[in-house]
């Protein structure tokens, strides 16, 4: 009678068993990884349209969060706009140099008596070599002033001296306000505003308006007055109560 000698099984630690299991199943682990890799590659293909045909979702494009309210941070956010990254060499109809930007200025929207609040804006002057504002980056602010969306980059018909965005300086506006409404009004610190004009009446020719303030980058000065909505000084040198502006109905 013979007995097959069976050598005693070596004792294997739990860690060793785990390692052996890994080695034994390595091929299947790699297979799982390979399947995942193919799924990732195919999935990314399906989710990525060719550049150029991928249009942004309506109403969501272009808002960039502000990291802060400093000029640097406002400009940095605005520069995310595709308009800062288009070709500006050659002879086309556009501003050719956006390399010099002035200090962003807050322009408030003044809605009419029947309207919801209008957006406020940061207007960033586009400067020439001499520091004149040849245009402006028009960046709408969200209601909480935490994000901007570049609406357009505009060119001024006549460059504004000293990088200003308003056609009239604050000093000039204060002088006119003093003349028409007294020192008490003019001593208030004014703010730059645009208002909700009756655009339909402008198109139809039933409204004549030369005072500016229709566009956020062509703002006018508004002086506050005790308890009221204040006075505005138009680009045509006229001083009037804010309520007298030709608002949209």
């Amino acid at each position: 009678m013979s007995h097959r000698h069976q050598a005693p099984r070596p004792r294997i630690s739990p860690l060793g068993r785990f390692a052996r299991g890994i080695v034994h199943n390595a091929s299947f682990i790699v297979l799982a990884f390979a399947i995942a890799a193919v799924a990732l590659a195919v999935g990314s293909l399906a989710g990525t349209a060719p550049s150029g045909s991928a249009a942004p979702a309506p109403g969501t494009a272009g808002w960039v969060a502000l990291r802060g309210q400093s000029p640097y941070e406002i400009i940095a956010a605005a520069q995310h706009s595709p308009l800062f990254h288009v070709k500006r060499t050659g002879t086309g109809d556009y501003l050719h140099d956006l390399s010099r930007l002035g200090t962003p200025t807050l322009v408030r929207g003044v809605s009419g008596p029947h309207l919801a609040a209008m957006s406020d804006y940061y207007i960033i002057p586009v400067l020439d070599h001499a520091g004149n504002a040849v245009g402006a980056v028009v960046a709408a602010l969200n209601p909480s002033h935490t994000a901007v969306q570049v609406q357009s980059i505009d060119t001024y018909t006549t460059p504004h001296p000293l990088g200003s965005i308003a056609r009239m300086t604050q000093t000039q506006a204060a002088t006119l306000a003093t003349k028409h409404k007294g020192v008490a009004i003019a001593e208030n610190v004014p703010r730059l505003v645009y208002f909700a004009v009756d655009q339909h009446a402008l198109d139809a020719g039933t409204l004549t308006w030369t005072g500016g303030g229709i566009l956020p980058d062509d703002p006018i000065w508004q002086f506050s007055s005790g308890g009221g909505s204040g006075y505005v000084v138009g680009a045509d040198d006229k001083v009037m109560p804010t309520t007298a502006l030709p608002f949209a109905p």
Partner: protein, 328 residues
């Protein structure tokens, strides 16, 4: 190693080769995040006019006169631009000539089908719709009438039915229309008079940028549209408008009125019908039960083309891809 392990190794190897090939391919042919990172910012191409020529063409003609003279003001710039291109003296040198054209329109320029009534102070008998201003046919007529050579100009119309059997999103329609507008510059790099704000207003669209070959991609990705507006010319001579503003929002002034191509021709801000800019009431483009829209639910602009003979008449409207329209 048993057979199932061998099978797993071989299959893994094959799948990894496939995955690697896909990733490499994405990088080479230029789409997807890898390419975007390498190519940022996106390369764009400008289509449109020469800026210096356009400034010269517009000199002393704007702003728009008080009243519905926008289509006249833009037509004058288009024709002056052609004067400069062809070395002719400028046809127009004074803002007040907007009024002169409006006066001439009261007695000259009716379509072959007659004119709509009542007459408008600017449009007169050149309109085929009772427009409170000038309708797209009238706009094409003015540009043709005062051009330095017998160039042909037509009202081009985009409606989604020209391209699809089912209606795509509004945004896609607006992008397709904008791409079609841009394609006009492949033939002639002229300024174009474009009807915006639901039909209420005309502006010059002078150029724009796309990262695509606009002749091949439809709709193309468009980064910006360059606009000149006679109404704001006293303060602002040019607007470089983002695509999002052009098609989704319009500019945030005029209380949602200044919507550019964020609403169809014939639609008001609240989507009710725009009674200032109605459909034709005379001629072959009067809407019918079978063809309920001509300008409405679409986008309109005027551009120069190379049609000749009877097809050159500004009476004809064309689809955005260049087909002469014989029905609304």
């Amino acid at each position: 190693m048993n057979r199932s392990q061998q099978w797993a190794w071989h299959l893994s190897l094959a799948l990894l080769v496939v995955a690697a090939s896909i990733f490499i391919l994405r990088g080479k042919i230029g789409f997807g995040p890898f390419a975007a990172q390498a190519a940022a910012p996106v390369t764009t191409y400008y289509y449109g006019t020469n800026g210096s020529l356009l400034v010269a063409a517009e000199q002393n003609l704007w702003p728009e006169e008080y009243g519905p003279y926008c289509a006249i003001a833009t037509a004058m710039v288009v024709d002056n631009y052609l004067d400069l291109l062809t070395h002719h003296p400028l046809s127009f040198t004074r803002q007040a000539q907007q009024l002169s054209i409006g006066t001439a329109n009261q007695t000259q320029g009716a379509s072959q089908w007659g004119n709509a009534t009542p007459l408008d102070v600017a449009g007169g008998i050149i309109n085929i719709a009772p427009d409170k201003g000038i309708d797209p046919r009238g706009a094409a007529y003015i540009q043709h009438r005062y051009a330095p050579n017998p160039y042909s100009f037509h009202n081009y119309i985009y409606r989604w039915e020209f391209h699809h059997t089912t209606e795509p999103s509004y945004h896609q329609q607006a992008m397709e229309a904008t791409t079609a507008l841009f394609r006009g510059w492949l033939a002639h790099s002229d300024p174009m008079s474009v009807i915006v704000n639901g039909g209420e207003h005309s502006i010059i669209v002078s150029g724009g940028w796309s990262s695509d070959d606009i002749s091949k991609v439809f709709p193309a990705n468009i980064q910006g549209i360059v606009v000149r507006d006679p109404q704001f010319a006293t303060a602002i001579s040019r607007f470089e408008v983002s695509q999002d503003q052009w098609t989704n929002h319009g500019a945030n002034f005029g209380v949602g009125y200044y919507t550019l191509w964020s609403r169809y021709y014939g639609a008001q801000v609240n989507q009710s019908v725009n009674r200032d800019d109605p459909e034709p009431t005379v001629g072959i483009y009067v809407p019918t039960t079978a063809n309920p829209h001509h300008w409405y639910h679409g986008f309109s602009w005027v551009r120069r083309d190379d049609t000749t003979g009877t097809a050159a008449s500004p009476d004809w409207a064309y689809t955005d891809d260049g087909t002469q329209m014989t029905t609304p």
